[in-house]
């Protein structure tokens, strides 16, 4: 099962490598990992997308909680939640492709954020599936490069990850 785990951790040098080191040392899988400071600059918030059986996810959660830098943790996938990923795509846009790509971007509610004679740079946010679908829809277009942020997320309702 796919799980999205959100972690509040001390904004200390080395905290990130403790988490990533744990995943590699114990052979857990990481699909994506994002991290940035929160509104409280002493805390960072990290979002990890991982896969595993219930038993492995239980171990991942326990091992993460055991790290001294981890203040709090939440498995977002245990309840209703919102997940988003940001993607930037640079495509070749000449002749008919210019109109074609623009239409696609509108359908996916993305934006064109930079333009040259021969290229567009596109911005899109959404779930992983939506971004994947967009990349697939660009099939006939020449993609020059793709940059994706990895997933971040937040729980719906009153559930919150704070101190």
């Amino acid at each position: 099962m796919r799980h999205i785990i959100s972690i509040l951790l001390e904004n200390e040098a080395g905290a990130l490598s403790r988490v990533s080191g744990l995943f590699s040392a114990r052979g857990y899988n990481i699909e994506s990992l994002t991290v940035a400071p929160t509104n409280d600059p002493t805390l960072s918030r990290m979002t990890i997308v991982t896969h595993g059986s219930d038993q492995i996810i239980e171990q991942i959660v326990k091992q993460l909680n055991k790290l001294v830098d981890v203040v709090k943790l939440q498995d977002l996938t245990e309840g209703a939640h919102i997940e988003r990923e940001l993607m930037l795509v640079k495509v070749r846009a000449v002749d008919t492709a210019r109109e074609e790509v623009k239409r696609l971007v509108d359908i996916f509610r993305g934006r064109i954020i930079d333009v040259t004679n021969a290229t567009y740079t596109l911005e899109l946010t959404g779930t992983v599936e939506k971004l994947d679908a967009f990349v697939k829809a660009l099939e006939l277009t020449e993609i020059i490069e793709v940059a994706r942020s990895g997933v971040t997320g937040i729980a719906r309702d009153d559930r919150a990850l704070n101190v």
């Binding site: 403790r18 038993q55 239980e58 326990k62 909680n65």
Partner: protein, 577 residues
């Protein structure tokens, strides 16, 4: 008053009540060594190799329950200590390692004797810190001791750049510290305690299986009360020996790969298992698919990640072993119910049948010295009162099987990492902690060679350790596996060109003895133990072909043990009727 960082380090140690630190100097550590020179509250023990420092601090900590402290220089100083740190980590020893680092402005420049100490040690410490500002030094050291000693203990490294030890700041040592990200649970959940007692009272074939957590929590007295109150059989892991008195009839001996027949069979057949401070390590469980197929399991551990990691647990209880077992005892006292006496009688009858196989028997008529005999004689000569460290190999298993430990913190060995070279330096820490007690190191000729340089440290500090070298001229444990599983191809497991250990011991200023005949074993031991003020190195020339039995081979179940040739040497597989 303003103090330098170096003085602050030493004052913190003093104010933590640290009596000994184990270390080795070098450039980046020189300010700290200068501060040590100017005081005598904290005594520095100069080892001969930084691995020895870490093992000695580890031995000290295991024998006392107090944190062991290590001081090493940057670069090769800390890399040499890593094996010792990993050893302490695997066995959950409370330890604080202070490593000097190159000055902050040189960090990252590949400076002389620079290594990323925090990076190198990260996977084998409970936590680590790099102190970049002298004002962070006191809170960091306070946190280091707090983290090392609380919850599931473990080593904590504090890396201190040289310039930080030269800068000055005000010194005030806090009496305690709290951390928002770290607050280990100590009390078990009351509902889980009740559920556990219900299950225990309904058991027909119970077993209590306990590990190093009982030692670390000083919970042996509580455990003894629980076991006697229930009348249930108890077995200890290699790390837990001494938690339940070996001489007590309710004790089944050690379990696991080289555990007793009765302990392993009882584990296999039990219907209720109470695991306390044990972590279902692969050397204990054998093949997980065949592990205790009928058991409903209660697991007490201070580390939630140990619970449910390898086996499915019905009643998990997170908490300190002593507090939880005390709560179990209190809850049992409130109940009128008692365990089913008929079922228990049947269970003990079965266990006694297994016991009657006498799985630890060995050939007592040999002309060669049997290693088991040496340990038995050591037990008798020392009245069972020695503190015993060991190295890793066959001798370690024989010491565990044949020296009956009746108290905790007297059997000190590297169980988790299995580090050859541990025994002698660990014995130094143990002897410093208990200057008037008998400390012995049971070792093999291969293991002792790995940290032999520490004989020099023993001389400097007059540590009268008694070394029992079971010299079979083989890496016996490796040879045993090659005999069983590699068709007797003894690839690189023999020890050619061994030193003359008697001369070697004497050259270090100690007493050396060589013992070659079974009839001389006891007299030699008596003689050696009567030497109170000197280290004695006893080199016992033992039977080269002896193997450790019983044995559960990798991938086998508890009911598929190899017994010794005298017992038929066939894997005895038995299904539960």
């Amino acid at each position: 008053m303003e103090l330098t960082g170096a003085d602050i380090v030493v004052r913190c140690l003093r104010d933590e009540g640290i009596q000994y630190i184990f270390g080795y100097p070098g450039g980046a550590a020189l300010h700290i060594y200068d501060s040590l020179y100017k005081q005598d509250d904290v005594k520095h023990i100069l080892v001969r190799h930084e691995q020895g420092a870490a093992h000695a601090a580890d031995g000290y900590a295991r024998a006392t329950g107090k944190p062991g402290v290590v001081l090493v220089t940057s670069g090769p100083g800390i890399t040499n200590a890593v094996t010792g740190i990993a050893t302490a980590y695997m066995d959950s020893t409370p330890m604080v390692v202070l490593s000097a680092q190159v000055p902050t402005h040189l960090i990252g420049d590949d400076a002389f004797q620079e290594v990323d100490a925090v990076g190198i040690t990260r996977p084998c410490v409970k936590h680590n810190f790099l102190v970049k500002d002298v004002n962070d030094l006191v809170p960091t050291l306070k946190k280091a001791f707090y983290i090392a000693c609380s919850g599931r203990p473990g080593p904590v490294l504090v890396d201190i750049p040289k310039d930080v030890t030269a800068e000055k700041t005000e010194y005030i040592y806090p009496s305690s510290i709290t951390m928002r990200s770290y607050a280990p649970v100590a009390k078990g959940h009351p509902k889980q305690i009740k559920r556990a007692v219900n299950l225990l009272l309904n058991a027909k074939r119970p077993i209590i299986y306990t590990g190093g957590g009982v030692v670390l929590a000083d919970a042996a007295d509580s455990l003894i009360k629980l076991v006697r109150q229930l009348g249930y059989p108890c077995t200890n892991t290699l790390m837990g020996l001494g938690s339940y008195p070996a001489e007590d009839p309710l004790f089944l001996g050690m379990l696991g790969m080289h555990g007793t027949y009765e302990a392993n069979m009882a584990m296999h057949d039990c219907d209720v298992m109470l695991a306390i401070g044990a972590r279902f390590d692969d050397r204990i469980t054998g093949d997980l698919a065949k592990f205790a197929p009928h058991a409903r399991i209660i697991h007490i551990d201070i580390d939630p990640s140990s619970i449910g990691k390898n086996v499915k647990v019905e009643i998990p209880i997170v908490g300190d072993a002593k507090l939880v077992v005390d709560d179990l005892n209190a809850e049992l006292n409130k109940r009128d119910a008692v365990p089913d006496p008929e079922a228990l009688k049947r269970w003990w009858k079965q266990i006694d049948e297994w016991r009657s196989i006498n799985c630890l028997s060995y050939d007592r008529n040999s002309d060669l010295i049997k290693p088991q005999f040496v340990i038995e004689q050591l037990y008798e000569a020392s009245g069972g009162n020695a503190l015993v460290t060991s190295d890793v190999g066959q001798h370690q298993m024989w010491a565990a099987q044949f020296y009956g430990f009746n108290k905790t913190r007297r059997w000190i060995n590297s169980g988790g990492l299995g580090t050859m070279g541990f025994g002698l330096p660990a014995a130094m820490g143990v002897q410093l902690a208990h200057p008037d007690e008998l400390v012995t190191c049971v070792t093999g000729e291969a293991s002792i060679t790995m940290c032999i340089q520490e004989l020099s440290t023993c001389k400097q500090y007059d540590l009268p350790i008694k070394i029992v070298n079971l010299n079979n001229r083989y890496m016996g444990m490796v040879r045993q596996w090659q005999e069983f599983f590699y068709d007797r191809r003894y690839s690189n497991s023999y020890m050619d060109a061994l030193p003359d250990f008697v001369l070697l011991a004497e050259s270090f200023g100690h007493v050396g003895m060589r013992i070659e005949k079974p009839g001389d074993v006891r007299d030699a031991l008596n003689e050696a133990l009567s030497v109170k003020d000197r280290l004695v190195f006893m080199d016992f020339v033992t039977d080269q072909t002896e193997n450790v039995y019983p044995m559960i081979a990798a991938g086998k179940g508890h009911n598929e043990m190899h017994l010794s040739p005298g017992n038929g040497d066939t894997p005895q597989k038995r299904e539960l009727a």
